[in-house]
C-alpha cells in the first residue's frame, strides 16, 4: 500500500498543478497508528500529507455536499463504498458528476479502528465489519484508477442472516432488543451526518419547532428517530456501514438498514443502491405489479 501512497500523492499533485482540480480529498495519518483522518488538499506541496493504508476507512463521498457550489472541480479518492456514495449523490441531484474527478482505489478491506484501540498495537487486528460485508471493494465508477483491481470474489447477495435471525424472535423479544439499544442513543446524529444517503438540506430532525421530534431524549423519541431515519434511507442506503461504524454507543444500526434492503429485494426485485445514477429509486417509483397485501 506504500507504493500506492506515492502514486496517490503524485496524482493529486498533478491535478492541482495543472489546475484540473481546485481541491483534492483523501486521507492523512491521524495521531494513532490505527487512525486516519479526511484531508482536503489545495496546494501541490501539501500532497505529501496524503496516505493510503489499511485504516483509510472514512467514506469521503458526503463531503462533496460542501463543494456543491465550488467554482471548479474537486478531485476525490474513492474506494468501492465511496464510489457508490458518489453515485448516490449524483442520483439525488446533489452533485454534478462533471464537477468531480474520481480517482479509484481498490480496497483490500480496512481494519477495525475500535478493535485496534482495544487490542493494542501488536495484536492481529480484524477487518472492520463494514468491510467484511462489502460487496463492491472495487470502485463502481471512476475517472482514473490507481493500482490494480483485485476483482475479489464477493457474495452476490447481501448477507442478511442476522436480520433473519432477528425475525424469528417474538414481538416482545424484538422490541426489547431494539429499545435497549436505542435507549442508549445519544441522538448525537453522527450516524445521519456521516451518511451519503442522508443529504437533505434540512433534515426533519433539525426542525424541532415543527414538533415531529422533540429534543427530549427518551426511548420513544429515540425509536422515532431510528425508524424514521431507516425509512428515509430505504432504497437509498448503499450499505457502506458508516452509520454503524461511527455510532457513539455502538448501536447495531445496520440491522435496520439491512432489513429494509432485504425486503426491497424481496418485494420489488434486487436493487443495490449507488451502482448507477439514472434509475428511479425503489421508493421513488412503483410498479403496477407490486405485491398486493392491502385488499
Amino acid at each position: 500500500m506504500v507504493d500506492l501512497t506515492l502514486e496517490i500523492r503524485k496524482t493529486a499533485k498533478e491535478l492541482l498543478e495543472k489546475g484540473e482540480a481546485k481541491v483534492v480529498l483523501g486521507w492523512e495519518k491521524g495521531n494513532f497508528p490505527y487512525s486516519t483522518t479526511p484531508v482536503f488538499i489545495d496546494k501541490p506541496e501539501d500532497t505529501e500529507r496524503l496516505i493510503w493504508d489499511e485504516y483509510c476507512i472514512n467514506n469521503l463521498a458526503l463531503y462533496m455536499l460542501d463543494y456543491k457550489h465550488l467554482d471548479g472541480k474537486v478531485g476525490i479518492f474513492v474506494k468501492g463504498c465511496d464510489s457508490r456514495g458518489i453515485n448516490r449523490l449524483v442520483q439525488d441531484k446533489q452533485l454534478d458528476r462533471e464537477k468531480v474527478i474520481l480517482i479509484g482505489l481498490s480496497c483490500p478491506g480496512m481494519k477495525d479502528e475500535k478493535k485496534a484501540k482495544e487490542l493494542g498495537p501488536n495484536a492481529d487486528i480484524p477487518m472492520a465489519q463494514k468491510c467484511q460485508d462489502c460487496r463492491y471493494p472495487d470502485p463502481v465508477v471512476y475517472d482514473v484508477f490507481l493500482g490494480e483491481k483485485q476483482n475479489k470474489k464477493v457474495p452476490e447477495k447481501i448477507d442478511t442472516s442476522d436480520v433473519e435471525e432477528m425475525e424469528t424472535k417474538s414481538p416482545d423479544e424484538k422490541y426489547r432488543f431494539f429499545t435497549t439499544n436505542y435507549e442508549k442513543c445519544l441522538r448525537c446524529y453522527a450516524c445521519r451526518n456521516v451518511c451519503p444517503a442522508c443529504n437533505c438540506k434540512e433534515c426533519i430532525f433539525d426542525q424541532t419547532a415543527t414538533g415531529w421530534l422533540a429534543k427530549a431524549n427518551n426511548v420513544s423519541n429515540n425509536m422515532f428517530f431510528a425508524l424514521t431515519r431507516a425509512m428515509h434511507v430505504g432504497g437509498r442506503c448503499i450499505e457502506c456501514g458508516e452509520c454503524e461504524r461511527v455510532c457513539s454507543v455502538n448501536i447495531p444500526i445496520m440491522l435496520l438498514n439491512k432489513k429494509i434492503i432485504k425486503d426491497i429485494n424481496f418485494l420489488f426485485g434486487d436493487y443495490d443502491a449507488g451502482l448507477e445514477t439514472e434509475e428511479r429509486l425503489p421508493l421513488g417509483g412503483y410498479d403496477y405489479t407490486d405485491p398486493e397485501e392491502f385488499m
Partner: protein
C-alpha cells in the same frame, strides 16, 4: 411478564377500549366511511378518522407519531390501485407501507396494530367489516405500550 402485559392489567381494569387512528383518503375511504354512516351500518366507536388528501400523503412519521401519542392501532386506507384521484398516489403508498409494515413488525410491533386497506367510496360494508375486525384484533392484543411516549 412483557412490557405490554404489566401495563395491560392496569388498563383493562380501567375499562380500556381500543383506540384506533384511521388515515382515510378524502376521495375514497372517507367517502366510504360517510356512506357507512348513511347506510346505518354499525361499526365499533373505537376509531378516530383523520382525513388526508390522498393515502400517499401519509408518511412513516405520521404512523410512528400516532403510536407515540398513545393509539393502539393505525389504519391507513385509500382508493384501490388504479382509482387514486391523483392517478398514482396509492402506488407509492403501497410500496412505502409494504416496507414499513415489515419494519414495524421487525422491531416488535404486533402486525395487527398497523394495517393498510383499499376501501372505495362505495364499499360501506367493507369499511364496516375492516373496522370491526381490526377493533376486535386489537382488543384481543390489549392496550399498546410499544413506542408510546408516556413519561410526561
Amino acid at each position: 411478564m412483557s412490557v405490554n402485559e404489566v401495563q395491560q392489567n392496569k388498563e383493562v381494569e380501567q375499562n380500556w377500549e381500543p383506540k384506533i387512528l384511521v388515515f382515510a383518503c378524502t376521495w375514497c375511504t372517507y367517502a366510504g366511511a360517510d356512506l357507512t354512516g348513511l347506510s346505518r351500518l354499525q361499526y365499533p366507536p373505537n376509531i378516530r378518522i383523520l382525513k388526508v388528501p390522498c393515502s400517499g400523503r401519509v408518511n412513516p412519521q405520521f404512523v410512528i407519531k400516532a403510536f407515540q401519542k398513545g393509539v393502539d392501532g393505525v389504519l391507513v386506507a385509500g382508493c384501490h390501485p388504479g382509482d387514486c384521484h391523483y392517478t398514482s398516489g396509492n402506488y407509492f403508498t403501497r410500496r412505502r407501507f409494504l416496507l414499513m409494515r415489515r419494519l414495524m413488525e421487525y422491531i416488535g410491533m404486533e402486525p395487527q396494530r398497523f394495517q393498510n386497506r383499499w376501501i372505495s367510496a362505495a364499499e360501506a360494508p367493507k369499511f364496516q367489516q375492516v373496522i370491526t375486525e381490526m377493533t376486535e384484533e386489537i382488543r384481543t392484543l390489549g392496550p399498546n405500550r410499544k413506542l408510546r411516549d408516556d413519561q410526561w
